[in-house]
Symmetry: C2
Subunit: 341 residues, 2 copies
């Protein structure tokens, strides 16, 4: 251990366990659960603990799913539990509004992420400005980023920096990337902007940790990861695994291994119902590049129309369906049924 | 899809679901379970279906764990279920003998793996010769391969080829590798031998799929993987995920995606009790580079001596403990206890 250089490059791990994990439990975490994990993450030295409804500020609704707690309660519960970790919030314009941003910062959010579909960075302009004006750190992230090119992502990220983003990056919302695809995209973004670059992985193809490593090697310095991979379907990049892997890779995170393993045990024992695993649906949606959040409507439609959900995912992927186009699932299922008859 | 080249490089997937998976269920699979999976794997076009006690031919014993079925019953059950897939068997000299090899081939094994610790290829000489004489395909694999250098592994593999091995390679028995470490080792082996190179991954650090991809890019053409990752602890490389990833990577496996997803569902629904997941112990043993098979004795010793199992794994790793040295676990635990008092 003494042969290591004393000053290793520092990677900032951003932890959306209490936001992305909400997708895995229908947004039903209670205050005791939020508090227990926030205390453990804070003790482990996690730099940013993000909390909220799975779809972010303002998203709790009958259509998307009602969270057990309102945004204010979630934020203030976690805020009270953190002594050194900063608190993060997430908002996708359309679900959330400027009022939600103001309330989040009022309740102690230090870092606020504004998310947009990978080609629609222009919708983040006003909200990134609001976050800056409120005095919080503003970050911009592009969803479903596999759907466009490295060059386009670099341009969209540069646009968000112009709008005031102090860190920008990409989400692999469908868990679709291979490592070399991440390398190409992150490298293009890192060249185009002079702020830290973010990578957020999902594990549908079992590559979330490897993709995060590829992102770091290509110039990313903020990696998102959740304890035990707590998140929808196949889950996110697994935080404690990433801590161990970055350590082996010679990079410093400032997070204690034993403490983050203990935090992961809190998630396993108190927050999650079943550990994330890569089932057949997760493989099909990752391969197809379809947003993981489509799992439930796709399964329901497949059952109702009597088509194979794997076939339905692959057909939706071929049609480049994106979030917000849930109403097309039925049409595609019926076309599939007509063809396979 | 029509833009793909028609002839893509072919990777042979070798499937030890019914052998490595046995570790996850105390070697208790019954004939109906073996048959159900073998039929599904055969239907998916899996090239080799390996079956047996988790530790291989002749290993069923009170000390290591008694299998529900004897070797002959396991082999003949799977043999009857396969019409196009070949059948594989595995033997580590010390647990198995030449008589076990003869029985395995008599019961229809087409491919027989002889395994040795990474620096002890010399123990495979006689058994590789026996397999060749019996008319089956002989393969040689090195266990705990992270414990030695690329150069040494290349020499040991070349030795096994001299002994008659028709394919050789390495197992990441502890799930310790990062992709660049696999690249270096597989490349050295591929340069040193003129037979197909094998890579067998485990998922302790969430990198089994990525390491398999690195192995292929470095010259491996036989990859081991199990359905749903069925295997001890964090499990093996997940077969159906690897099929999807290799497809995305432009490589042909001859395995049907829908059919292998169906085979994986057979494992999930009929063979496994809980899906493999990367728990804190798996991370610690992967990081420490300790053989996954040590999990049970390490947990028991940690409890008995009142030390943290994560600390015990890391201490065992620092001492480079290998399989067969189980008796040292207690000593290391007591030293640890003395130090931390």
């Amino acid at each position: 251990m003494n042969t290591r250089p004393r000053h290793r490059p520092r990677i900032l791990l951003h932890d959306p366990t209490l936001r992305d994990g909400h997708h895995a439990v229908g947004h039903q975490l209670d205050a005791d659960q939020l508090r227990a994990y926030a205390i453990a993450a804070n003790a482990a030295g996690v730099p940013v603990v993000e909390v909220g409804h799975g779809n972010g500020l303002g998203a709790s609704s009958l259509q998307i799913g009602r969270a057990r707690l309102d945004d204010a309660t979630m934020l203030s519960t976690v805020r009270e539990a953190l002594t050194t970790s900063r608190m993060g919030a997430f908002m996708a314009p359309g679900w959330g509004t400027s009022d939600d941003l103001a309330a989040a910062v009022h309740h102690g959010a230090d870092v606020v992420r504004i998310a947009a579909h990978c080609t629609e960075a222009d919708v983040t302009e006003r909200h990134l400005g609001v976050v800056r004006d409120l005095g919080a750190e503003a970050q911009g992230v592009l969803l479903m980023s596999h759907m466009t090119s490295a060059g386009e992502l670099a341009e969209q990220c540069a646009l968000m920096v112009k709008f005031g983003a102090q860190a920008v990056g990409i989400m692999d919302s469908a868990g679709h990337y291979l490592p070399d695809e991440v390398t190409k995209r992150v490298r293009a973004i890192a060249i185009a902007v002079d702020v830290p670059v973010i990578f957020h992985g999902h594990n549908n193809l079992g590559l979330a940790v490897a993709n995060s490593l590829a992102a770091v090697d290509a110039g990313a310095s903020i990696l998102d990861a959740t304890a035990r991979g707590f998140g929808a379907g196949a889950g996110n990049t697994q935080l404690e695994v990433l801590v161990a892997v970055l350590e082996r890779h010679g990079l410093e995170t400032g997070i204690g291994l034993r403490e983050i393993l203990a935090a992961a045990d809190v998630v396993a024992n108190r927050l999650m119902t079943t550990p994330p695993s890569i089932d057949s649906i997760a493989v099909a949606s990752g391969l197809a590049g379809v947003f993981s959040g489509f799992k439930r409507p796709v399964l329901e439609t497949a059952r109702a129309e009597g088509v194979d959900p794997v076939d339905l995912f692959l057909a939706l992927g071929a049609r480049q369906i994106v979030a917000g186009q849930e109403d097309m699932i039925g049409d595609v299922a019926r076309q599939l049924k007509a063809v396979t008859r």
